[in-house]
Symmetry: C2
């Protein structure tokens, strides 16, 4: 197996956490997003979206889209499970994960920020305002859901990490890179701390990658 | 079961298609997004994200995030399957679906467009350029993947509709609402036509909903 990775990509960070939880260590290749490696023909032939991560399986299948990769990892390497066994629990975990993976992260992705400052000519201050705004909108809803729901435990769903935590921690890391106020988000902060007590999460952090700058 | 719906929401449109394919007809409630019904306390208490769709199950669980709802529907109402049975096929279908559900749709969602024209003061022409740009970027990659891959059949994956088609058709409908050039996308257009030959897709179209304007 081979993972196409970039230390600062939060989508790749998700997959790194899941691989660590499963105890799976693929070969690694690094795609430098800020240098534009993802737009090289060689990488585009692998992943026409030009995004990371991509995971090439031992069967030669090229898997893309981090949440699809997380699902595949859980279907392929069964223990520990990162999705609950019951359909209602799975729906809850997937919804929490997608509230980040669909509704926060893509809006703040590098290519969107480049369009804002390049094509639309917005200022750095406006760009930073945009970045924090979409995290706030997303985190407000997540905090409300997690704080009120009895299914929340030490982690987003019960007392073991799931795909929801795997999406939450990289998004929290993105927020930590800007001057973001975590005051309104005590439940998210508590769950992040529980995750960061686990070696699988620590080892996946951007600063602990071979390509970190 | 009760579906909170809005005729023009393409996330709700996905769920309507899946329900029709499964032959499941929940009670319906309509949340008028352009009038702001999604920000009323009553709806926010159900879905703190203030987005549609939401699906309340017969057990009283509130399911949110359309892709999570599609997964739940397939786990709960087994036939016809909208995800392949093999892990590699499931990964492929989920990746195609998420390339739309994560990387096109949220960037062009109503609330994002409102931020562009409101907070950032971009012109209508710039907003329309943004809208088409993100569809083009996403469709280019999808067209490349679908056109070259032997797993593509009459539909995105083989000869029966899956979650990938369920995400594709509403995104095509969004593109049809603007002056969008489908010329570069013959495979997407062919698959859309195959879907529109099925009553489940036709009945789910925005113009065929009780709340259509």
């Amino acid at each position: 197996m081979k993972l196409y990775d970039y230390f600062r990509s939060s989508a790749a960070y998700r997959v790194r956490i899941a691989l660590n939880l499963k105890g799976v260590a693929p070969e690694r290749a690094f795609v430098h997003l800020r240098k534009g490696d993802q737009r090289a023909d060689e990488y585009l032939s692998l992943n026409p979206q030009g995004l990371v991560p991509s995971l090439v399986t031992d069967d030669g299948d090229v898997l893309t889209q981090s949440v699809a990769i997380l699902e595949w990892l859980d279907e392929t390497f069964h223990e520990p499970r990162i999705l609950p066994r019951d359909a209602a629990g799975r729906a809850r975990v997937r919804s929490l994960a997608l509230a980040i993976a669909c509704d926060i992260h893509p809006i703040n992705n590098l290519r969107v920020l480049n369009y804002l400052t390049g094509t639309l000519g917005v200022t750095e201050a406006q760009k930073n305002g945009w970045y924090k705004y979409w995290i706030d909108v997303g985190f407000e809803a997540l905090e409300t859901r997690l704080a009120r729901d009895g299914a929340t435990g030490r982690f987003c769903h019960g007392d073991a990490p799931t795909v929801a935590d795997i999406c939450l921690v990289p998004q929290m890391a993105n927020a930590r890179r800007v001057d973001f106020d975590f005051g309104p988000y005590p439940t998210l902060t508590r769950i992040e701390a529980a995750c960061q007590a686990l070696p699988a999460f620590v080892a996946a952090a951007p600063s602990n990658q071979p390509d970190a700058e």
